[in-house]
Symmetry: C2
């Protein structure tokens, strides 16, 4: 069978099974997840043996240590994967939820009911745990999943997938609801992206290049987050100790993630009082500072010059651009112009100013007096995370089980016709 | 200024104004709508004079009578447009609605708030009333609108637009929130479709060709309905009088619309009892019947042979394909396979069978004992309709004001940082 026919066959099987999966009771889907979790732990030896093949190849090809680390599985990490699947089993079932009831004067009763999307494609990079995370989220929300992991993790992914399928086979969930594309040929992704009549959504998880590649090569709806260019704005009405603490946390607690701060904005009225200490903190933490003219006049040494490109840049690293602004309106304008509409914070004691910031900043998550680092499905209490959407349609911000669903209208009549 | 620069300028003005518009109070947006409605009536003479130019051109080019009718404005139709704008003013404001409140153990308070999308592009064909309908829906939901109507209605659209803008200028709503693309050059649409950084959504309103053209030529999210291939399934447990009534209504009450039935499915157990009378009704109403073999053996005369293509066809006309099926499962499989996931109905007295149909048919609107013709924003009680979505993401089925919004998370802290 050629690749195109093979990928089509996988997608058709997923689609076919999705109709059955949508009808399975909550309890059976949860039982499947608990069996999947148990199987991951029971078969951890097999999974690690297969993982060792990926690691050997990674060493042979001299991959960067960070990549090798992301690839590596050990008993602790496999237990974490199993615990993640178990936690998903414990979440509220989104399927069948009654979202709205409408009673019409003509007697029609309309129920808006949450239902699975159908078939969800997930394209990801090197982390093998995404295979079990996404399989669990899809089974929980009664969606068939087509998984396509990175070539670096192919042996690990195949092993995890095999273990999960074996567990699924002990349940009434159709085993075809989980599909893994094993081909490492890039053409396989292209073939998948063409199947808009069979897939209901694609979620790319990984770097910006992957996300852009997927978004630009398919007509299947894509939920994506391109970038997190997040800001903290320190108002002249800020509690400056709090601002210092939030600044440090938002930049340095985990600089390589999308909800970390990339640009600090400071009101000119407090710049002199706030910046020297805040910048000293950041430098002590190993952070490079790129400042505008005002920052560089205040702190003469050790500040690189920020270029216009810096305001557009997601460093994902211990680098921070800093700008002095003239009040709230300039801060808001900067954020809406240069930001990525992901997560932005104001530090202020003035409630009215806080509300103006919340109202005017056009981002998925807008914070008052808290670190941008909280933009996360778990931190928001959703219990799971598919990703964080910077799109405005369908789902915005942290995406959890609800983002894997749509709704239908069930209309109950007694012979009504339209006149 | 060349076309590309001109369209960009329009979109930038819309984007800029959308930030201000989002902050306007409900009362001011409603006041603007009432002034717009009044202005349409007050200036109906001017609008009709401009409309006469389009009509003269339409006659010169020998347009089909149906198209000329769609183009034509008279005092009654202008009053209807004004009444539509007034009705929109009376709807509940979606903006600012609190969708969810989350209180986290660390003290963070998270509010999920409905907000406007920002800038909405609407591309439509010959009906001039779409100009005022869509302008009203966008202003109501605090979105800037970029309107692009058909070349046939250009004088009418310019006149309506001018009248609406003049009314807007008397309010605190930024007048740039309404934009009309006056160029009739097809390239203007292409230029608009490229501006994914300035537009948040595109809604194409019109025939399938227009919708497909838009969807295939932009990265801006598109909410669309391609087709309405709607079914009525008459179960062996149906009240056959009710089934006859619903069949007639779903097919003949307004055959040219997307929620009209295109295929009738009948259980074999009642085919002999049901079909002769039902088909006689339809034929009396001028309807052509295309039947499968079973239908043609039951009714020997005047039934064309249905080909496989018929099951895929949206006639939008007095034509009906008819198929005899062996029970619920065959009906469901046929609908999910050949339908367009728009609106489908079962006629049955058996509640369990009804629920199985509701659960298994993968369509936006699924009916029990009612005509598919009710799929409509007004009939659902939404008070307005942007269109009917056959997409599954963002909005499904009748789309009203909520479909013109997204949400943001407002997070209130007291210095929380992530550990």
């Amino acid at each position: 069978m050629n690749l195109s026919a093979h990928i089509s066959k996988i997608a058709r099987a997923a689609k076919q099974s999705s109709l059955k999966l949508a009808l399975t009771p909550t309890a059976e889907r949860n039982r499947a997840l608990l069996l999947m979790a148990k199987a991951l732990e029971a078969d951890s030896g097999y999974i690690m043996a297969e993982n060792a093949k990926d690691l050997a190849e990674a060493r042979r090809l001299r991959y960067a240590p960070a990549l090798v680390d992301r690839l590596t599985l050990d008993p602790k990490r496999i237990k974490d994967m199993a615990d993640g699947v178990r936690a998903t089993a414990g979440l509220k079932d989104p399927v069948g939820q009654l979202l709205e009831t409408i009673k019409r004067p003509n007697g029609l009763l309309i129920k808006k009911i949450r239902v699975p999307l159908g078939v969800v494609g997930i394209i990801y990079e090197s982390r093998p745990n995404v295979t079990s995370d996404c399989a669990a989220l899809c089974i929980k929300s009664a969606n068939a999943a087509i998984l396509k992991g990175g070539r670096e993790a192919i042996h690990s992914n195949k092993a995890i997938f095999k273990v999960l399928k074996r567990a699924l086979a002990k349940t009434k969930i159709p085993v075809e609801a989980l599909q893994l594309i094993e081909s490492v040929d890039r053409q396989a992704v292209h073939e998948l992206l063409r199947l808009e009549h069979l897939l209901d959504m694609i979620v790319p998880r990984g770097g910006e290049d992957l996300i852009r590649f997927v978004a630009e090569n398919t007509r299947i709806p894509v939920v994506k987050h391109f970038q997190g260019i997040c800001h903290v704005y320190v108002s002249k009405k800020a509690d400056l100790d709090m601002a210092r603490n939030i600044t440090m946390n938002a930049k340095t607690q985990k600089p390589g993630v999308c909800n970390a701060m990339e640009t600090l904005l400071v009101d000119q009225a407090v710049a002199k009082k706030f910046l020297p200490a805040a910048i000293a903190d950041l430098k002590n933490a190993g952070c490079e500072i790129r400042g505008d003219q005002a920052v560089r006049s205040l702190i003469k040494v050790g500040i690189k010059k920020a270029t216009p490109k810096d305001w557009h840049t997601e460093y994902l690293d211990l680098i921070l651009s800093v700008k002095v602004v003239n009040g709230l309106q300039e801060a808001v304008a900067h954020i809406n112009n240069y930001g990525s509409h992901h997560s932005d914070a104001i530090v202020t004691r003035d409630q009215k100013e806080a509300q103006a910031f919340l109202d005017q900043v056009d981002s998925a998550c807008v914070y008052v007096n808290a670190s941008t680092r909280f933009t996360d499905g778990f931190e928001f209490g959703f219990g799971a995370e598919v990703g964080i959407s910077t799109d405005k349609l369908h789902v915005r911000g942290p995406m959890a089980l609800d983002g894997l669903t749509t709704y239908k209208y069930e209309v109950y009549g007694s012979g009504q016709v339209r006149t």
